[in-house]
Symmetry: C2
Subunit: 98 residues, 2 copies
Amino acid sequence: MAVLRELVGDTLRTHRVRNGMTLRDVSAKARVSLGYISEVERGQKEPSSELLAALCDALQVSLSRVLRDVSVQLELAEQLESMVPDDAAKLKELVSVG
Amino acid sequence: MAVLRELVGDTLRTHRVRNGMTLRDVSAKARVSLGYISEVERGQKEPSSELLAALCDALQVSLSRVLRDVSVQLELAEQLESMVPDDAAKLKELVSVG
């Protein structure tokens, strides 16, 4: 099963890259250590509510938007997992080809 | 600003009550101490991804659903905060009256 903190990390990284920001930029703006942000992005650290809010602030993205992005990804993952293995494999193949 | 863990706690409690479950029921099903679940529901403890998944499992609600619920509440809170104070006060009055 997809682990929530990995999806949160991926989503934060996506927004950071989309904004053309480096880890260093976010670290300076959010006043959080670069190493810690990197661990959060890689799903290795569970960010507290306050840290997550500070990161979203630095990334100029609303926390509600990040959570919505995560919930959509999670819903897809849940649907994939509830499928018959063969169907799920076919779907994954389609997605990676298409 | 609404703190994420408080919204998560409220949402978990809402689903528990809707399912007619007690804290004791959830504690037994999720194998998590009753006191800890109570603290999570009151927004006093930040649940890890794994604990959150276990609680959702016990509540028979998908994690994506909980996150979607939270993101909707958060979006409303963000919109209220970005309003002119007078307008926000009027809206809050309307909501509590209606």
